[in-house]
Symmetry: C2
Subunit: 219 residues, 2 copies
DNA sequence: GATAGTTTCATACAACTGTTTGAATTGCAA
DNA sequence: TTGCAATTCAAACAGTTGTATGAAACTATC
């Protein structure tokens, strides 16, 4: 119990490698080489490769959710229970976008690991991932409080689209950068968040009556 | 040269398995078992596993791009060179969404394979995938013709967001279904396409002056 | 129907995977 | 220091992977 240094080294190396190259391309031998520990240490400390991944995912998942909920609570407290929809959306996509695109390298690794986890959906993660649904439900509820006139189905679509835009921006930002010839600035994280939040807000509010949608059709 | 049946059987089985379970989870032995051919047939007909994947990707990539461009051309011809932005966006996201969510199982396999390819980005695909950029550039140009007042940077972001929403709907539609308790109907493909197109259109047109964005901020 | 070229097949190969083993080493309490 | 548990280590394990081999089966041409 004296030194958990080995454990920590494995966790750090694994997270970084998984974030960079994905789960299927990283072997235990890659991890132990990066962590400078013995091969058997992984099984000794974690039991198996899957349990290592699961522990990594659970830890990061809890941290991300806590950060989101903290921002959501702050926004709702400020508005005495009803936060502006933009604030709700920002608390949903902000932490991940800031984590992945921001300058803090340690946070970027953590955030990118979570993106990998949501993309590759390797077995040990798939089992745990259902909890995320209940987490997202709390945001759907908060969005419903912000927009009481919007139908429930539209709330879910808006939540889905917001996550889609944030997610894809992180995952395929490189393509957007190439496509636009560097015109789209991904380093200005706040501007990116604002774009995602604005786009999602428009999708949510325009659907309310259908009039805005029809207007857009004619434009 | 008499029977290319083996070749075709391998291609079909491989595409289906890759679409269902992803690249890293499917082995050559899985493929040849599903295709009812000998293990060595893959290397005999394609040279290697990577070349099989590459051929599959190139074929499907060309087909998808052709379908998109056909719809785009039809829309632009009808408007004498300037299609409504909704029509341009529909020609961009329509083929893939219809393919993945529609009832045609063969098309669904092809479309889901392409989604896998864009997600997992396995080495043999990564090399070819750069061509996609130039394909998307043609849509950015068409969008620019539809919305001459919108800044180029906003066009790229709108294109990016449209693909993001379509993409994520296919990839994680199951989560949306669970989250909404079945409220969000993914089987009504036209309705899904309309949602994506409308949301992207709003994001594109609202950014023009910034007023709509500000209005949305107050809502 | 013999021959040459193509395609199939069972089998083996070398490399790599996650995991296990048992001995060596370490750290700490008595 | 002695003794005991926790940890590290090199080595090997069994299983799977993509690929290669050479013989067998087939097909078409003469």
């Amino acid at each position: 119990m004296a030194t958990d240094r080995t454990r920590a080294a494995i966790l750090n190396a694994a997270e970084q490698l998984y974030a960079e190259r994905g789960f299927s391309d990283v072997t235990l031998r890659d991890i132990v080489a990066a962590a400078n520990v013995n091969l058997a240490a992984v099984n000794y400390h974690f039991g198996s490769k899957d349990e290592l991944i699961a522990e990594l995912f659970v830890t990061r998942s809890i941290a991300t959710n806590r950060e989101r909920l903290k921002e959501l609570k702050a926004a709702e407290d400020e508005g005495r229970g009803r936060a502006p929809i933009e604030a709700v959306l920002r608390s949903l996509v902000g932490p991940t976008l800031r984590g992945c695109l921001g300058p803090d390298r340690e946070r970027a690794t953590a955030a990118r690991f979570m993106i990998r986890a949501s993309i590759e959906a390797v077995p040990p993660i798939r089992k745990i991932r259902n909890r995320e649904i209940s987490h997202l439900r709390r945001f759907a509820a908060a969005m419903g409080r912000s927009l009481p006139d919007v139908a429930e189905v539209d709330i879910y679509w808006g939540l889905h689209f917001a996550l889609a835009m944030a997610h894809q921006t992180i995952r395929d930002g490189e393509r957007l950068d190439k496509l636009s010839g560097g015109l789209c600035d991904l380093d200005d994280v706040d501007a990116v968040i604002a774009r995602v939040v604005t786009a999602a807000t428009l999708a949510l509010t325009a659907r309310r009556t259908g009039a805005a949608g029809a207007k857009a059709q004619r434009a």
